[in-house]
């Protein structure tokens, strides 16, 4: 892999890792903790936020699948023998 590609791959991995950490931390929405505002007059804002969080999680999963899919794993699927540690 040329050096520029390696840098791009490393940056991508770093960005995705930071995104995963950021989304995990965003689950802790202390700013809406005591807020009972009703969005559209019916949905409590804390519930609305976490519904949107689910959509954001789906978006991040798309990015992981698109940019960090473990391509090597599905090409190594020929059946191989295992350790012979079965009981007699």
């Amino acid at each position: 892999m040329p050096p520029s590609s390696t840098i791009v791959a490393s940056m991508r991995t770093l960005l995705l890792t930071l995104s995963v950490i950021a989304l995990y931390l965003l689950h802790q929405d202390f700013w809406f903790w005591r807020d009972g505002t009703l969005v559209f007059g019916v949905l409590p804002i804390g519930l609305f936020y976490h519904a949107a969080y689910c959509a954001a999680a789906s978006g991040l999963m798309w990015a992981l699948v698109r940019f960090a899919w473990p391509v090597g794993l599905d090409s190594e699927t020929d059946r191989q023998p295992t350790t012979d540690n079965r009981q007699p």
């Binding site: 995963v20 989304l23 995990y24 689950h27 802790q28 929405d29 202390f30 809406f32 903790w33 005591r34 807020d35 009972g36 009703l38 007059g41 019916v42 949905l43 409590p44 804390g46 519930l47 976490h50 519904a51 969080y53 689910c54 959509a55 999680a57 789906s58 991040l60 999963m61 798309w62 992981l64 699948v65 899919w69 473990p70 794993l73 599905d74 190594e76 699927t77 020929d78 059946r79 191989q80 023998p81 295992t82 350790t83 540690n85 079965r86 009981q87 007699p88």
Partner: protein, 537 residues
């Protein structure tokens, strides 16, 4: 009874699906076909069935019930955290489990652990632990079945008969159809309960005159805290995000990862999983919260009266158990459906509830798979009696597991939700370091794995013994069982046990990870040949 008949018709349909899978694929019925559907499930069945496998009685009944008593907290606690953690675990662990299953022919996680760490009896210990932790999860299904059928039939079918009927139907299609029958049924059920939530919200909202009035009534009442999370510590909320880790360590989920035809089948599942969670949990949690503003429903009013009486200092301690039972919200969705939906619709929606309730099928099959592969085949049964006997043993075990689960469900008084969280989820979350060690860390050893398993068993057993010997104090108070230097180490509250003020899952997971690390570094690693097979450069 009209509604109950629709539910019975639904049970007949899922039974037929199991029989269909049996008749169509019986000719191929070796262990791989019976236990992992011949590793041949396509993307749609894989997504729907994996999601359905993970949805249990408390997804609909328990989540709405929990939201009825705890407000919007329920969604952030259980749904949105799962919407992030579970697909991430499928991405990190699920794909690797699938790949190793293909390469080495594994059908259970214990087979992988035995091969990866060159061990035998340690694998057996892990099997016993996994099986013991899975039992409460199976019981949930039977209990939910009994509750649902009894409620939908207006009490004409008693709890024990409803539970028996559900257990019998589940046992039959798992017995006949194995993993393929279970996957088909789960896919069908997922479609049903994904439609259920939306339909229930629309009909109840329409017939009750809209939810805006109900939510405004809650906002103006002393129960306005239900629309916020002000009664819960942010640390509790944070600690709870570790619970969804348990999913990938559940044997029925890791075994299900082996059923995909290709690794690319995971892609759609990983991306759509959070949206499926949103589609099923949001309506259920919303209904549970909104029910607090629907006092025109007599059964809801009675629950709210019981809750108010529980909070009153004038209430006699003798009345508390009966009031707690009355205030419980496990049947709140069914109560709303009965009041607002026409009978036929309540029946159809009841079938949707049944779909979630019957998710115990995968766990029963997983127990059977683990026993036949990790014990029967491993200790020479396969070589002595052949593959046909191995499948027959699996089927016999399906019957035994169901019968034991039914017997236990009829004696278990604890609420559905508490039972699952306190034992199974905490235990399985603590087993995740086994997967991390096996799949990502070359230096991990069988002794590290044993330390994790022993620690997990000790923590779960410790919680069970502690909670049995220290009765739950009244809501809002706690008993400090052990403190040191002014720091409360072990406390008992109405909602469970707390270690350093956090749910036990935190201590369990951190302890497991530390033990895997320290014990592995202190013990000899597996042979280089084995390590190289798992970590090719």
């Amino acid at each position: 009874m009209t509604a109950a008949f629709i539910v019975f018709a639904y049970l007949a349909v899922v039974l037929y699906i199991g029989i269909f899978a049996f008749r169509k694929y019986e000719r191929k019925a070796g262990p791989e076909e019976f236990f992992v559907a011949g590793r041949s499930l396509g993307p749609a069945v894989f997504l729907l069935s994996l999601f359905g496998t993970n949805m249990t009685a408390f997804t609909i009944l328990g989540s709405a019930g929990h939201a009825f008593g705890n407000g919007i907290l329920t969604f952030g606690l259980m749904a949105s955290a799962s919407a992030f953690i579970i697909p991430l675990c499928l991405f990190l662990f699920g794909t690797r489990i699938w790949s190793l299953g293909r390469r080495f022919g594994f059908i259970t996680p214990v087979q992988m652990f035995r091969d990866r760490w060159e061990c035998s009896h340690i694998g057996t210990f892990i099997f016993v632990l996994q099986a013991a932790l899975l039992v409460p999860y199976i019981i949930i299904g039977v209990m939910g079945g009994g509750t649902t059928i009894s409620a939908i039939s207006g009490g004409a079918v008693p709890y024990w008969a409803g539970g028996a009927l559900v257990a019998l139907v589940v046992m039959s299609y798992v017995f006949l159809g194995g993993m393929r029958g279970t996957a088909f049924v789960n896919a069908f059920q997922t479609v049903l309960f994904l439609s259920f939530g939306l339909a229930a919200v629309l009909f109840i909202g329409y017939r009750s005159g809209g939810f805006a009035g109900a939510m405004e009534r809650i906002a103006a009442s002393p129960d306005a805290w239900l629309l916020t999370r002000e009664r819960v510590s942010p640390w509790y909320f944070f600690a709870y995000t570790l619970i969804p880790l348990s999913t990938i360590a559940f044997p029925h989920i890791s075994i299900f990862c082996l059923t995909a035809r290709r690794m690319t089948e995971f892609k759609r599942t990983i991306i759509l999983y959070p949206l499926c969670i949103l589609a099923i949990w949001l309506p259920c949690v919303f209904l549970g919260v909104a029910a607090n503003g629907l006092r025109e429903v007599p059964a809801i009013d009675a629950k709210l009266e019981a809750r108010a009486a529980l909070a009153s200092p004038a209430t006699s301690p003798d009345d508390v158990p009966a009031l707690r039972a009355e205030a419980r919200g496990d049947d709140v969705v069914i109560v709303l459906l009965e009041h607002y939906s026409p009978l036929w619709l309540a029946g159809l929606l009841g079938a949707g509830i049944m779909a979630a309730v019957m998710a115990s099928d995968s766990q029963i099959l997983a127990m059977s798979t683990m026993f036949t592969e990790d014990v029967f085949a491993f200790y020479g049964g396969k070589e002595r009696f052949g593959e046909r006997m191995q499948v027959a043993t699996g089927r016999v075990f399906v019957v035994l597991v169901t019968a034991v689960a039914y017997a236990l469900a009829m004696r278990a008084p604890t609420s559905i939700f508490e039972l699952a969280v306190q034992y199974a989820f905490t235990g399985y979350a603590a087993l995740v370091p086994l997967l991390v060690g096996a799949l990502f860390w070359r230096r991990s050893t069988k002794w590290g794995a044993l330390a994790v398993a022993v620690w997990t068993a000790a923590v779960v057993l410790g919680i069970a013994v502690f909670q049995a010997s220290v009765p739950a104090p009244p809501s809002g108070t706690e008993i400090v069982a052990w403190s040191l230097g002014g720091v409360n180490i072990l406390t008992r509250a109405a909602t469970g046990t707390y270690i350093f003020g956090l749910m036990p899952v935190v201590t369990a997971v951190i302890g497991s990870a530390v033990l895997m690390w320290i014990v592995s570094l202190a013990t000899p690693r597996p042979t280089p040949a084995t390590v190289e097979r798992y970590f090719r450069r």
